[in-house]
Point group: C2
Chain length 266, copies 2
């Protein structure tokens, strides 16, 4: 049985998330359909992350098991010919026992926010083009305060306060966040609007349901003076979802990279 | 009878162009529907530019005539509440005889191209996010040659070679292009890909059907060494569509600004 590891990017705006569901367009469903046409077989993909509706991916991974005939190095071009807003970036053979989800040792997500002053006409035009790709803010947060809050997130903690109901039940809510990086960049938007983007890059061994979006919402509230960054350890200690910040919207979230031990090679 | 001049921005990706048509989603149709809900009346908009499917606008203009009750300064907020990918940026009273199309004295369009090296994995991911908003090129054109070709476009010429069949028949094919500006910027795309954007900004007294897209295609061919920039005057002189370059895709085109004498105030 062949086992091929795919690297996948998609614009989440047009999908109801990763996971195949009847009656709606999903990333997994769209890829499986294209793979069925390319291989002539029914094929089930196992993705690393079951990203929600509207969430984007720059480096999702998925394993593809079967006895299909197409050479591994032709899979990407053949599938990409059939798809527009999801593309296979790479396809590599892996040992039969390897699984994109169970063998993942970590992930990096990026959360992107853009500050747009609505009183400026150009900013309003930019808003239209960015609405599916950023969390659009009207007020600039204090990034020093966000940075301070970010430091308290790093480390091994019980992140029950940062887990939304509705995901698959995880046995343990303890996770290790290796790093919460922040970057601020100025850019020119469509029509010449001056925009400031704040992006948060979070790397960890795994994340609970909506955990990155709740971290982003909580850091933002610290930056906007709605909560004290020094209070984050108490929020973590409470193990109570109501104590953490709001869930930032899906539009700002990008799955950037998935890590495997030895990249999945034995 | 009131006459209100609207400034409008839209993401063209989700529309079959400006002009109302049965059975498809258009900008005019979407706005007229929202205006009907806001005013309680059937309202016909007269837009300056009947942009094609996929073409974007940062500053489309349209006039709205009728005896509706809503104050002019509340129109934008009321309509924008009902719409997502098209927004009214401004609404201003104008004299009864003023018409957004017939009184326009000029327009500026931007044509945006991005160079993406497909051999780089990050560039492939960026391609997904930019596909509806740029003309994506695999090879970098020589911008000096494009600039030289651009100089030959400026001025008052018979632009029959730069007119596609299929638009409304213009009586005359003579137009004045005041300026063809070019700008090159480096930017960081989603996932950290290094991208180079080349944008062409064209201002003129009016444009024939697909004229900007044919100018963009022709300049690009000069930049890629597929035609001699010194041959552009002959292309213009031939009055033959087959002599000019290809029609660059709609995704790269943005209507930036419309000009009126005295901005339409008497």
């Amino acid at each position: 049985m062949r086992n091929v590891l795919l690297t996948i990017a998609y614009d989440g705006a047009g999908f109801h998330g990763w996971q195949r569901q009847p009656g709606v367009r999903t990333v997994q469903g769209t890829l499986e359909e294209a793979l069925a046409r390319v291989t002539g077989q029914d094929i089930a993909l196992a993705g690393t992350s079951r990203t929600d509706a509207g969430v984007h991916a720059l480096g999702q991974r998925a394993t593809l098991r079967g006895d299909f005939g197409i050479p591994t190095d032709r899979i990407a071009a053949a599938v990409n010919n059939l798809t527009k807003d999801v593309k296979i970036l790479a396809a590599e053979d892996r040992p039969e026992g390897f699984h994109a989800r169970f063998n993942a040792t970590g992930k990096t997500y990026i959360y992107r926010m853009t500050i747009l002053d609505d009183r400026e006409e150009k900013a309003q035009a930019a808003r239209i083009f960015l609405r599916n790709y950023r969390y659009l803010l009207k007020t600039a947060p204090n990034t020093d305060k966000m940075y301070e809050a970010a430091r308290a997130i790093e480390g091994t903690h019980d992140f029950a306060s940062f887990r939304a109901a509705g995901g698959a039940d995880a046995e343990s809510t303890v996770r290790t966040v290796h790093r919460v990086g922040m970057m601020q960049t100025d850019e020119e938007g469509p029509g010449g609007a001056r925009l400031t983007e704040i992006s948060i890059e979070v790397t960890g061994d795994g994340f609970l349901y909506n955990m990155i979006r709740i971290i982003a919402g909580t850091l933002l509230e610290a930056g906007l003076g709605k909560r004290n960054p020094a209070g984050i350890p108490d929020v973590i200690g409470a193990r109570d979802r109501a104590r953490a910040g709001h869930t930032a919207p899906a539009s700002g979230l990008y799955l950037k990279k998935v890590y495997f031990e030895n990249d999945g090679n034995e």
